[in-house]
C-alpha cells in the first residue's frame, strides 16, 4: 500500500481545510476548559465567534517562553503546572524539551495523546518507505527526549521490527547493525555521519552495512547533508520536521521534494514574518504557527514555533493532496547579527557538506574581541591528509565562507577528535558574545 491512510491523504484540500477548521474549534473549546493557561489566556475568546480562518488569526499566539512560566503555576500539577490538560493521574509518560533555548519545558503525555502523536509519526515513516520488512536500528539513548520515542513506537505500529541501540558506544553500534543485519535506521543527521566515520575507521565501508533507508530527526537536515548521507550509505534518506511541544508535523515522501504537512492532524499557519497576521504566498518564507488538533494532555493553541519555512504548492507526484513546505530555512532565533550581517549557521553546514567532503566535523564560534565580533570556523579533516593539502583546504573553506556568508572568518584546523561528536542534537554554533 502506498498510503498510510488513503482516505485523508488523497482528500481534496478544501475538505481537509474544512475538517481542520472544525477540529480547531473543538480543540479550542477543550483548551479553554481543561488547561489552566488557556482558561486565563483565552478568557476573552468565544469559540462561537470563530467562523473563519481570519477569526483564528485574532487568537493570541502561544510562545515557548510563556510555557516555562506557566509550568511554575498550579503546584498540584507539578512539574507541568498550568500546561496540563488532563488529570495528572492520566499522565503516562514524561518528556521534556532539550533546553537548547533556555530552561527545558516538561511535557506530559497521556496514553491517548501519546498514541495520537505516534499515529502522526506513522505517516512520517510510511512516507519514508518504512515497511514491515524493515529491521530498524535506533542508535540513540532516547532519554527524556521525544523524537526517538516517537520513532520507536511508530516503527512498532507500522509493523517494523525496532532495535533500541542505546547504551552502546559508536563502535558497538556499528557492530550491532552488522550483527543483526539492520536494514533501516533513525538518527540525527550528525550521528548518521559519525557512525559512518567510525565504520570507516574500523575498515568497514558504510555502503556495505546494509542500511537501505534512514529517517532523520532531532536536527535540521540541509539538502547537502541529506545527499551526503545517501551517498555515504547508498541509502534513501528522508527528512521530517517536528517539535517536542507540537509533534512531528511534516515529512518527506518518496519524491523527496519538500515536506508534506500531515493533515488533518494540525492546523498549520505559515505567516508573514513582519506582521505575523497573514498567510504567505507559495514560494515565500514564513513563520510556522501550529495547533495540534487532537492532543489533549498538553493543549497548544497557535504555538509560534519560530521555524521559518518556504511555503510550497499543494499536490505532489506521489498523489498526496496535503499542503507542502519546500524548505526549512531555520529557526528565527538561530539567525544572528554578526558585524551587522545576518548570519545563519545552516549556510555553513550547507557549503561544508556540499563542497568539502574532507571536513568530518566543524564548529562555529563567535566572540567579542574589543568592539568587534570575531567569527571562527573550527574544522576537523579526515585523517591522513597531508599538511600542504590541509592548508589548501583551509584556504578554500575561508574563501567559500566569505562568498556564502559575506563574513570573514578565521578558519582553524583542529587535530583528529578535537571537536565534540553528538548523538542527539548537535550544537555546532557557539555564540559567546553575551558571556564577556
Amino acid at each position: 500500500m502506498k498510503y498510510w491512510n488513503p482516505y485523508t491523504e488523497t482528500m481534496p484540500q478544501e475538505q481537509l481545510d474544512a475538517i481542520e477548521f472544525a477540529y480547531f474549534k473543538e480543540y479550542l473549546a477543550y483548551a479553554k476548559t481543561h488547561s489552566g493557561m488557556y482558561k486565563e489566556k483565552l478568557k476573552e475568546v468565544n469559540v462561537g465567534d470563530i467562523k473563519t480562518i481570519e477569526d483564528v488569526r485574532k487568537i493570541p499566539f502561544t510562545y515557548k517562553d510563556e510555557l516555562r512560566a506557566q509550568q511554575e503555576k498550579e503546584p498540584q500539577n507539578f512539574p507541568y503546572g498550568a500546561l496540563l490538560g488532563v488529570d495528572v493521574a492520566e499522565v503516562s509518560a514524561f518528556r521534556q524539551t532539550s533546553g537548547t533555548t533556555g530552561k527545558p519545558v516538561y511535557v506530559p503525555e497521556s496514553y491517548e495523546s501519546w498514541q495520537w502523536r505516534v499515529e502522526s509519526w506513522c505517516h512520517i515513516l510510511w512516507m519514508a518507505g518504512f515497511r514491515p520488512r524493515h529491521r530498524v536500528f535506533l542508535p540513540v539513548g532516547y532519554n527524556v527526549y521525544v523524537a526517538f520515542w516517537e520513532c520507536h513506537y511508530a516503527c512498532e505500529k507500522v509493523g517494523c521490527e525496532v532495535v533500541p541501540g542505546g547504551a552502546l558506544d559508536t563502535k558497538g553500534r556499528v557492530n550491532k547493525i552488522i550483527e543483526i543485519k539492520a536494514n533501516a535506521m533513525g538518527c540525527t543527521p550528525t550521528y548518521g555521519l559519525n557512525i559512518a566515520e567510525e565504520a570507516m575507521k574500523m575498515g568497514i565501508d558504510p555502503k556495505k552495512m546494509g542500511i537501505e533507508r534512514m529517517i532523520c530527526a532531532g536536527e535540521p537536515l540541509p539538502e547537502a547533508t541529506r545527499k551526503k548521507l545517501e551517498e555515504t550509505y547508498a541509502a534513501h534518506v528522508y527528512d521530517h520536521i517536528g517539535g517536542t511541544e507540537i509533534c512531528g508535523w511534516a515529512a518527506m515522501c518518496e519524491e523527496q521534494k519538500g515536506l508534506h504537512i500531515i493533515e488533518p492532524f494540525f492546523l498549520i499557519e505559515i505567516l508573514d514574518r513582519e506582521t505575523l497576521s497573514k498567510e504567505v504566498a507559495e514560494g515565500e518564507i514564513g513563520v510556522v504557527v501550529i495547533t495540534p488538533l487532537g492532543r489533549h494532555s498538553f493543549p497548544m493553541v497557535r504555538f509560534n514555533t519560530n521555524d521559518m519555512v518556504v511555503k510550497g504548492k499543494g499536490g505532489c507526484a506521489c498523489g498526496r493532496t496535503s499542503r507542502k513546505i519546500m524548505e526549512v530555512v531555520g529557526r528565527a532565533d538561530d539567525l544572528r547579527k554578526i558585524r551587522g550581517v545576518l548570519f545563519s549557521p545552516k549556510t555553513v553546514e550547507q557549503f561544508i557538506r556540499e563542497e568539502f567532503p574532507e571536513v568530518v566535523e566543524f564548529e562555529i564560534v563567535v566572540e567579542r574581541k574589543g568592539i568587534m565580533d570575531e567569527l571562527t570556523l573550527r574544522t576537523e579533516l579526515q585523517p591522513n591528509i597531508g599538511k600542504d593539502k590541509a592548508e589548501e583546504i583551509r584556504a578554500r573553506v575561508k574563501e567559500t565562507a566569505k562568498v556564502k556568508t559575506n563574513l570573514t572568518m578565521n578558519v582553524t584546523l583542529e587535530p583528529e577528535g578535537a571537536l565534540p561528536r553528538y548523538d542527539l542534537k548537535a550544537r555546532r554554533f557557539k555564540d559567546l558574545r553575551g558571556k564577556e
Binding site: Y7, Y23, W116
Partner: protein, 50 residues
C-alpha cells in the same frame, strides 16, 4: 467510509460497556480504556468530509 465509521462506533460502545462491567477489575478496565484510545484515534482519522 460510512460502514467503517459504524463499526468504530460499535467498538466504542462495546468498550464503554466493558469498562462499566469491569469497574472493580483494573486489568479489564484498563484494557477497555486502551480500546477507547484507539476508537478516539479511529474517529479522528476518518472524519466526515464536508
Amino acid at each position: 467510509m460510512e460502514e467503517i465509521r459504524k463499526e468504530i462506533a460499535t467498538i466504542e460502545q462495546s468498550a464503554k460497556r466493558l469498562k462499566e462491567l469491569a469497574r472493580e477489575m483494573p486489568g479489564i478496565s484498563k484494557n477497555a480504556d486502551i480500546i477507547l484510545t484507539f476508537t478516539f484515534l479511529l474517529k479522528f482519522i476518518t472524519p466526515v468530509a464536508k
